[in-house]
Symmetry: C2
Amino acid sequence: MAKTVEEISSETGFSVTTVRLVINGQSERYRISAATRKKIEDYVALHGYSINHAARSLKLNRSDTVGFVVPDLSNAFFARLMAALEGLCRKRDLLLLTVASHEDPALENRAVAKLLARGVDGLIIAPCQPQVPPQLLNSRKRTPVVMFDRDYGSGIFPTVVSDNVQGGLEMTRRMLQETGGEAFPFLCGHAESPSIQDRIRGFNAACAEHGVTGEGRVLLEAEDSVEAGRQLMLALTGGGRPPPRAFMCSSLLVLEGALQQIRATSGRIPPEILIGTFDDHAMLDLLPNPVFSIRQSEDDLSRRIVDYLAAALSGEVPATPRSEVPVELVCRNLHSSTTFPAKST
Amino acid sequence: MAKTVEEISSETGFSVTTVRLVINGQSERYRISAATRKKIEDYVALHGYSINHAARSLKLNRSDTVGFVVPDLSNAFFARLMAALEGLCRKRDLLLLTVASHEDPALENRAVAKLLARGVDGLIIAPCQPQVPPQLLNSRKRTPVVMFDRDYGSGIFPTVVSDNVQGGLEMTRRMLQETGGEAFPFLCGHAESPSIQDRIRGFNAACAEHGVTGEGRVLLEAEDSVEAGRQLMLALTGGGRPPPRAFMCSSLLVLEGALQQIRATSGRIPPEILIGTFDDHAMLDLLPNPVFSIRQSEDDLSRRIVDYLAAALSGEVPATPRSEVPVELVCRNLHSSTTFPAKST
DNA sequence: CTGTTAGCGCGTTCAC
DNA sequence: GTGAACGCGCTAACAG
């Protein structure tokens, strides 16, 4: 199978032009004779035809590929987002090239350079650093770029993020409602990230609404990891203090660490503790506790991203807009009250 | 930035050969004069150089890319495996092109065809169907292929799988030890898959060792899904019967469904139920129950896969070998006994 | 030590 | 209706 145009041409006796016209379905326009068309079509049906994308790219200076640079593929959120992006790209006959940066700015820069060298038509980046990779600014081709998940405020490229302020606000409000207005700590990993800052902003705003202060209750760690969660909870439960009756975490990793630490100190996880966490996961079902979680919409996010990209690909130059995608508040095992808004605005 | 060789050549006044020799670090071998070298290096340092992979591919008939076709990217196991593969590929300066088949044979075939047309140097496939995609057999280039995760026994391509029989055997043995020899059900989704068949084989063997029969205790569903798990558990707890004191699941999805169903019937998940499941996940920590899980080694699997691929890329033709990678038995919250082998053979 | 050149397969333009 | 020819940027063989 997988003949080239030239092979089909020489083996059927027709010229490459004729063969190409038939293959590309332009036989009507150029009035190829039906007999010729049939012969070529039969040959192709029998032996198959496989376009050589390298040659096509070289000629057209276009690769029909989109690069995707992501901090961590084993993170469920990014994995789901990649799956969504991949589907949207397939619809547009684009191939998604996904590369992980492992939260390393140097790797991120190398990945961007590599994808640019591969001639990607567009680039989607979930950046792990405030600086934009230098290759992006002075490349020959001015490849369209969409930033995503973390807005470091460069303001150069269109950016898509979840509405983290709203997420923090809604979840905190509902949790305060559950605790009857009693304040609780917010355990944050990866504190410098803009998304986390937004989540904190939402938390503080909701606390203020209830007349309590969130300020001293936000605990920070640099890393987003299980270990960070453990450290943060240790700070709360050190010296034999009991675990908090309610707490909120900035990510699932932090939550895991916090719970591990509670178990280490108390021997078990008291099932009445009220838990809030960013990022939803089916396995939160395993907890008997009342749990709130914020679910980002991978579908909406990916749609928005691809829309920006498609616009840029067709030459439109948007005013480097910023899109905030609504998040969803998910509730589990809520016993005290049963009605509440499930969606944020 | 991002000049081509020709541009550098014309703008520095040297020939393309000289420029290329310097860029590729072969100036020693061909004894380029230091002055020439310095001029070229300075120019490159200033303006940069970005190779055009399309042209390179066209010339060399090699793309330095590897295709990866995977049933489901939002499955944590595949996501982790992809991350591992991606790292290994980067070391060899290969780009991994990952495409999802969504468990659809037609999509899988199309993905394979597409990747072949893109000129991938190798193909890694976690197949979702017994038939091998036709394009693989009569392609012009005879692209090296490695099959993975499910061995449908085509016997045509090297195959890498986890040792599922051993996993089923070890986990069942240990669980029977916990239950004191009392048999328990095995809830299986995606029953037709070869991996699941192997897991069942291990289960039955361990049951036989303990003189109990596993036969009637294996419950099957076609899908691997939460819903399947719910159905299977419903079959056990229907008519007001209490949940089993111990059970095993073929995947995390099935486990989730089973637990949901138990909670639906009993209002809670009795924390003394002994649970076994294939595939490990950090969030299993959230369960207070004693839990066994089988953790596949993404590192070992990916290493093995890339080794096969590298061998094939350097022209070696292995006798389509089959590799079984050991799995690890993970234990959580085991109270009754404390010493046991944590690793399978 | 350095320069010239052919050709990879495709899309396009122009000629018959 | 059909064919011939050029050039995209790179590599490799060969020529000085």
